[in-house]
Structures are given as structure tokens and as C-alpha cells.
């Protein structure tokens, strides 16, 4: 196989994998925007908070230990136990649901009917507040994230040796794909299918879609807006947890994890703010587009490091020709 072609295919495949990871973050934005019209600036921080909570619970860390010790003069840091990954994930989901309830109860319930820009500002405040709480609750140091089904059976890292060997034998070039990316793709697929089934075939899902279509109409048939928004924020919290696990497994859990939101913005611009398939397709286009551009043009001719700006430029191009994004609902305002 022609070596340049092989490299290009490899970059393409890895771009798809990276795109899935971007889409995982974008999904959380879409869920909340679709149901409530709120652009949730705090989605990245929610991923950070969820991942920190997961690691904290796994390691038996005492939440707010630093604060407790400072006030009471104690020296408590750990409970002295560790929690199995699955149990820790379940407990983290409970925490994210509690967070969703608190966000709705103490913030957005009081902002019903406000301009979208006010709601957006509220999410900025929420992001910084949540970052501070995460710091106070679990500390700022870097934490290794190991999600394991059993001893030694954890999230895989590193090159997929089978794929490399098979492609080498068949094509004369061993392709590189990261095992973690493969797992992330499978998880993302399950997540999207699960969300679609939930939205289409459950009572709560249908109520969620009704609220997304028309708040007033949903209210008139007895749907509780309050409940639906808590549900939506809980789902976004769950998606944030999945994104936090996948990204945190790559780099450890640390405060820069919140910056993964920056990777989701071009995906949303391209795929639309209201479409789950849009988030997935948008993620894949951005992932492949930025990687191929870097490989074919950026690195050889422009000095490299083009991915960040190219992703936004690509999204901008789509925005010019299709402002609602690839899968977004067309905005029609009658006068």
C-alpha cells in the first residue's frame, strides 16, 4: 500500500475517533439547549466535577476534607476504603442528579421567562461556582482515573495490537488505533442509542420532547417543566460523567478537563444545537477535518498546531451557509 495513502487513512480513522470524543462533550450541550434553550457554558466543568467526584468516591476521599480540617483542626483525608468502579459510577450519577436538582431549584427556577443571554450568564456563574466547589470538595491535584470491572481489567490504553498486526499482514502497513478510543466509540454509540430510545419510547422522554417543542403546550397538557428540566440536567450530568471518564482516562483528572468544552463548540456550530445526530456527525466532521488538515497542510506548510483554529474555521464555514447547523431546526420567525 502506498505509504502516504496509508498515513492519510490512519489519520482519517484517528480523526473519527477523536470526533467521537468531541461529540461526547457536545451531547451534553445539545440535551440542555434542546429542552430549555439554555446554552450551558458549565458543561465542561460538569465533566470535570463528575470525573473528580468519581475518583474521589473510588478512592474513599473525604469530601471537603481541607475545609473540615481547617475548621475543626482535624486531620481527616480518607475514609480508609475504596469503592468498586461500578458502585462509584452509580454514586456519582446520584451526585449529578442532586446537582441537577440544586441547579434547577436554586438558579433556573428563578429565571423562568428571562432572556436567553441572562440564562447564559447564569451558566457562566454556575461554571465558576462549580469549579470552586470541585476544588474545595476534592482538591486541585492531578488524580489518576482507573475505571475497572475487576482487578487488572480496566479501561484499556495503548495501541490496538490486533488491528496493527492484521492490517500489516493484509496491507503491508500496521494501522494505529488507540484502544481507549475504540471503547469511547462503543460507549458513545450505546449512549446515543440509549438517549434516542429514552426520548422516543418512554413517558418521560416524550414529555422531554414535548417541552423541547413548546413549553406552553407541554404545560397545558400537564407536563411538569420543573421535573423535565431536572431530568434534562441529570442526563447532561450523566453525559458529562461519561465524557469526563473518557477524557480523564487519557490525561488524569485535573482542572484542564473543563477546557474540553472548547472542543465541543465547533461541533455544535457545525451540527446544530438541537440535534443529537448533529452532535455525532458534527464531531466526526470536525475530528476528521482538523486531523486531515493538520496532516496534509498544517504540519507540512503552516508550521503545525492548526487544529484549534481550523476546527472553528470549518464550523464558521458551515455557519455561513447553514446558520442552524447541519441538523439544527431552521429558525423561522413570522412577522
Amino acid at each position: 500500500m502506498n505509504e502516504q495513502l496509508a498515513f492519510t487513512i490512519e489519520v482519517f480513522a484517528n480523526g473519527l475517533m477523536a470526533g467521537v470524543l468531541y461529540a461526547l462533550v457536545a451531547l451534553g450541550f445539545v440535551l440542555i439547549y434542546k429542552a430549555s434553550g439554555i446554552f450551558n457554558y458549565a458543561q465542561g466543568v460538569m465533566a470535570l466535577f463528575a470525573a473528580m467526584t468519581l475518583v474521589g468516591i473510588q478512592n474513599g476521599q473525604v469530601p471537603f476534607a481541607h475545609l473540615i480540617n481547617a475548621i475543626f483542626g482535624t486531620e481527616v483525608h480518607h475514609f480508609g476504603w475504596s469503592v468498586h468502579s461500578f458502585a462509584a459510577i452509580l454514586l456519582t450519577v446520584v451526585v449529578m442528579i442532586a446537582l441537577a436538582w440544586a441547579v434547577q431549584q436554586f438558579v433556573f427556577k428563578h429565571l423562568v421567562g428571562q432572556e436567553p443571554i441572562i440564562l447564559f450568564m447564569a451558566t457562566i456563574g454556575l461554571a465558576y461556582f462549580l469549579e470552586g466547589v470541585a476544588d474545595l470538595m476534592w482538591g486541585s491535584e492531578l488524580k489518576a482515573l482507573n475505571v475497572c470491572a475487576s482487578e487488572g481489567n480496566c479501561l484499556p490504553q495503548g495501541m490496538n495490537v490486533w488491528l496493527e498486526g492484521t492490517t500489516y499482514e493484509a496491507l503491508g502497513y500496521g494501522f494505529f488505533i488507540d484502544n481507549l478510543d475504540i471503547v469511547a466509540s462503543i460507549v458513545a454509540a450505546i449512549l446515543v442509542i440509549g438517549l434516542v430510545i429514552f426520548a422516543q419510547y418512554t413517558k418521560q422522554g416524550r414529555a422531554m420532547r414535548a417541552v423541547a417543542d413548546d413549553h406552553q403546550a407541554a404545560l397545558s397538557v400537564g407536563v411538569s417543566l420543573n421535573f423535565i428540566w431536572v431530568l434534562v440536567w441529570s442526563l447532561a450530568g450523566f453525559v458529562a460523567l461519561v465524557a469526563g471518564i473518557m477524557w480523564g482516562a487519557k490525561s488524569g483528572v485535573q482542572f484542564s478537563l473543563s477546557l474540553i468544552a472548547l472542543k465541543a463548540l465547533p461541533v455544535l456550530m457545525l451540527g446544530g444545537f438541537t440535534s443529537i445526530p448533529g452532535a455525532i456527525v458534527g464531531g466526526l466532521i470536525i475530528g476528521v477535518g482538523e486531523k486531515l488538515f493538520e496532516f496534509l497542510i498544517g504540519a507540512p506548510y503552516l508550521g503545525g498546531a492548526t487544529e484549534n483554529w481550523f476546527a472553528y474555521m470549518l464550523a464558521l464555514l458551515f455557519l455561513v451557509f447553514r446558520p442552524q447547523g447541519l441538523f439544527g431546526e431552521k429558525i423561522i420567525e413570522r412577522v
Binding site: 469549579e131 482515573l145 490504553q157 490525561s251 488524569g252 485535573q254 477546557l259 496532516f295 504540519a299
Partner: protein, 427 residues
Amino acid sequence: MKYKLGTLAVAGLMAAGPVMADLVFPSLSYRTGPYAAGGIPFADGYADYFTLLNERDGGIGGEMIQVPECETAYNTEKGVECYESLKGGGGLVYQPLSTGITYQLIPKVTADDIPMLTSGLGRTSAKNGKVFSHVFNFPANYWDGASVAIKHILDEEGGDLSGKKIALVYHNSAYGKEPIRTLTELSKKHGFEFKEVPVDHPGQEQKSQWLQIRRDKPDYVIMYGWGVMNQVAVQEAVNIRFPMDKFIGIWWSGSENDVLAAGAGADGYKALTFHNVGSDYPLYDDLKEHVFDAGKSAGAGDQAGTVIYNRGIYAAMLVAEAARTAQEIHGVSDITPSQMRDGMEALEITEEKMANLGLPNFGPEFKVSCENHGGNGFAAMTQWDAEAKEWKLISDFVQSDQDIVQPLIDEDSAAYASENNIEDNCG
């Protein structure tokens, strides 16, 4: 009413500001934000060393020490705000731990007659004291690091690098770009092929870069990274099965944080350093007695012995010794920032002095002068032992190639002097 408000304001200032007779060493720390994992241990080490001096020795030369901390979150604007807000409190020397903040503070500290120490970071050509009167970057700078890395590779390759490929994976910022010129010159001198691989901030996604490295198959990779970029790069290197003993990080890419997440795969990864690693020093016995066990540790008290905690201790030790030198020069204990600058310019660090301080073999010997604010450019190599989960010093402190580094420093500082109409400070 006015009187009451005035009284309240004065009382507030007295409560907030340090006691004026104390020696003030402000700490521009970052315990929050994306680079907190590196900022916390440095700030803890810096504070703990001064706490030790207060508790054990009653300060420096009979003067107690204050370490007011200001959170920069590694943000340049916040860093400048911190400097402005703290300088009224009599800060003797600033250590920003950020190249971006350093660049902004260079003209300010010079105008305010306050010294700044940027060990292993900042503007490399600040080594030239004839141009940068108030900036110091001893004992080593970025260009020394690049040169010592190449020296190490030369040793590994039997002194011949012709035909070899060396890639630089760097944070695409002023900091990360610092070694490019040096490595370009070194590639001409030693005949190796040099390739640049930039990574955009924050470096959470580096697949493209490491696929390039997998394709190009460089013999060695040098990394100038910081924060999450380091952890991701080490993991990606493990993923593509790049030989870790041929992967060398600068000292900002060589802490426990950078390798722990990659687990056993990171074994053998190397990083430069300008101070020793571990906690097997007499100083740590004193820290245990007077700081740790006394419940006076900074932060959560869980960073002792880590690489960047040691760097914080080293940074504090250097300025404490400079303050002591300033007290001797001027014959006063309550020194001013201007006198502190004189102390820094006359600082001499010897092995005997470090041993007396409880830090034998902890760092290179060097002597600062009016012309040379950067020491002698010595750095050493460390290597990560994944099983023991510790960094080990695997070389002596080696001097950088001054034939390459010094002309670059002269050239860059001359350009700065010309742009800013600076006369020779030492003339």
C-alpha cells in the same frame, strides 16, 4: 463619619498588609486553573521553606519572614494584578512561575527597582545582567536545558549525531518556542535533523502530533510542555510505543504528575532538572520537626518530596540566601527590594553552603555577577522509575554548550537593549 471611615481604612490596611519590618517574599501562586497540579507543589515548597526559617531560625538575620500569596491561576493579567497589589507591601523579590507573567513584569520590576527571579523559565536572555538589571534566571535557563539534552543524547550515541532525527514537541507558546533557535544551531553543529512539532494549549488532544512522530520515527523526542500537555504526551508516546528512554522532557515536563497517569508504560522517561530529587536530605528532617509535625505545612501538606515541591524549596532557598547576602553587604537586617537586588547579584552558591543548609548535592554551584544573572548553565538528567514511582538522578550536573548558548543570549539581549534604549548596567 469621615474620621470613622479613615480609621477603618487604616485598620484594614494594617490587618491586610504585612508588618513592615518583616522580610516579605510574595508568592504568585496558582492553586486553581488548568495548571494547578504544577502550581500547588511549588507554592507549598516555597512557603514551607520560609516557615521553617521562621520556626527554626527566627527568620533571616533576625527578621521574620512573610509570604503573602496571590492566586494568578497561571493567567498573565491576573499575575500582573497580583504584582501590582503586592508591591506596596514591600515585596523583596517576585518569582512568577510563568513565562507569560515574567515577560509582562520585566519592564515593571525594572522601573520599580524590585528584583525578579525566574529560575529555569522566563526570558532566557535575561541572563545578561548588562541589559536586564532586575531580572535573574540562575541556575539554568531554557537554552541551557536544550543544550544539556543534546549533550545527553551525544553521550548516548557515542558523540556522533550525524544522520539522527530529533523532534521537539512543544507547547505552542512563547515558552515552548524558546528552545527552537538553540536546537536549530545545535543541529547545524552536530549534523542532526531537527523537526518541530507544536501542540496548541492546553494540549488535551495530541493525536496528530504523535501520528506524525510515529510516521517520521525520530531517534529522540525532546518535550517542552506544561500541565496537561505533559501527561497526554507521555501517554501518547506510550500508545505508539515510542522508546521512553529516548523521550526527554525539560524540567517543566518532569514531575510525578506527568508520568503517574501513564502507569508502567512511562517507565524510563527522562527529564532535565536543575536541582536534585527526593527527600533524603537533612533539611527534610528539620521540615518534619518544625513544619510538617507542627501542623504548619502549606496547602494540604501532601506534596513534600515531589519534584516541584523540591523546586519550590530550592527557589525559596536561593532568595533566602540572596537576602542573607544583601544583609551582609548593606549591614542592615531589614533590607529593601533594591538592596535585595544587590544581594542577588552577589549571590554565590557553593556545595559547602548547600550542605550547611541541609541540602548537600542538591543543585549546581554557581556565582552571580553584574554581567551574569543566570549562573553557569548546569543541569542534570533524571529518569522515572515506574515501579518505585520515583524520579532518579542519573547524571551529574553538566554545563550547557556555552559556545552556542552565550552568543544567542548576547544577540537577543542586544536586540532588547536596542528596542528599549538600555545602556550597559555594568559599564
